[in-house]
Amino acid sequence: MNAHDVIESYVRDVARFLPRDKRNDVALELRELLHDELAGKAAAAGRGPDRALAMKLLAGFGRPAQVASRYQPRNPLVDPEDNHNFVIWAVVGFLALAVLSGGSKPDLLGWLGLLFVVFACIAWFRRRQPAGTFNWKPRVQDKALHGGRWPALLSAAGLVVFPLALYLSPQGYWDLATIGRGVAGGLLQTAEFLDSWQRMATIGWFALVIANYLVVAVQDGWKRWNRRLGIVAHVGLGLMLMAHAVPMTAFLALEPFAIFIAPGADAIARPWFGFAGAIVILCVLYDMYREWVRVEPAAAVPPVSPGATVAG
């Protein structure tokens, strides 16, 4: 392949990236320009135009796709400014699918493909709107992620009254809720479960979550370590609740045990444990995201001058 053939090959490769209406015209001009350039370089080097010189020239020119994009700039399928959100949604989706798939293999590639199509459609739509349509607008400051003393106290009390009490004694809870008219003994738990490490660990995570809320109530506000401890405790709690949805075994044992004595109750309750755990994990993922994007230190409250009035 001589220098002429090399240039022809290059021009063809550039041309195939160009729109049909420009292809021949650009190719014709590019071909002549490259020959001019090659002749100029050969003259400067004091030798005839050869393959090596042509390859060097074209290497400096760039890959054919790059050259074509200079002639005919193309919009990216997904706008570069959306990369951040794309990655966030990809990771959150992966985690959510992994949590919600319930043991079956999650379709991660499918999610990535769907996400790509959605972001490409957003980019396409955005480009077709008049300039200024999507200008940034200020919004009121985001609500605090967590409230102060009273919301924390309410959360602690709520956790004790409903999920923790239900978990500790489902039969007692059921009897209380039905005023003793429910099925007697229908929610009694097996001895293996009552002595299991899984139950102890779940109660421990519940206790940690509740204790964290109580500390927040006492100090009347969330500190960084409270927020992060809350995240850790909720992750632990969510995972342990999800662990109730699969067959549970004691340490170093292979034989799984049931949670409830009644087989029907066991079959009904296990998926609900998994569902509750998945909800907790999804909520804590949001908390993790909020923690990750948090700006610290928070803005100081602007000082109000003594003479200031509501009307200004």
């Binding site: 014709l28 590019l30 320009l33 001019d36 100029g40 400096g60 020119f61 790059q66 200079r70 002639y71």
Partner: protein, 114 residues
């Protein structure tokens, strides 16, 4: 900062600086008819060498923006595509030249303070 990083930054700065005035330089040279290679030679001889891969597509873009007129000259061998400023391009050149002079005055002022 490592010496190589500093060198890269300096190189990037020069490239950015040159890119900013590239259009002005090209328009100034197209007051008379030129084809791609002759324009590149003229710019290089004037002290502004420009990569061929950058210059030739730029001519097409300026033409698409309505600043240049072009025509194929088939009387030459090989045939060449010639470019020159049209009326809109001449106005754009005058505007850019004014902006350039005021920028130079401003930057000279800043550099004088340094």
């Amino acid at each position: 900062m490592s010496p190589s990083h500093a060198s890269d930054s300096k190189e990037t700065g020069l490239v950015e600086l040159r890119r900013g005035v590239l259009v002005l330089a090209v328009l100034s040279q197209l007051r008379r008819r030129q084809y791609g290679y002759s324009l590149r030679q003229a710019l290089a001889e004037g002290g502004m060498p420009i990569e061929e891969g950058t210059l030739y597509p730029l001519l097409r873009r300026l033409e698409a923006q309505g600043l240049l007129a072009s025509e194929w000259d088939t009387d030459t061998a090989p045939p060449r595509r010639y470019y020159r400023l049209n009326a809109t391009g001449r106005q754009a050149l005058a505007t850019l030249a004014d902006a350039w002079r005021s920028q130079v005055a401003a930057i000279d002022g800043f550099l004088g303070e340094a």
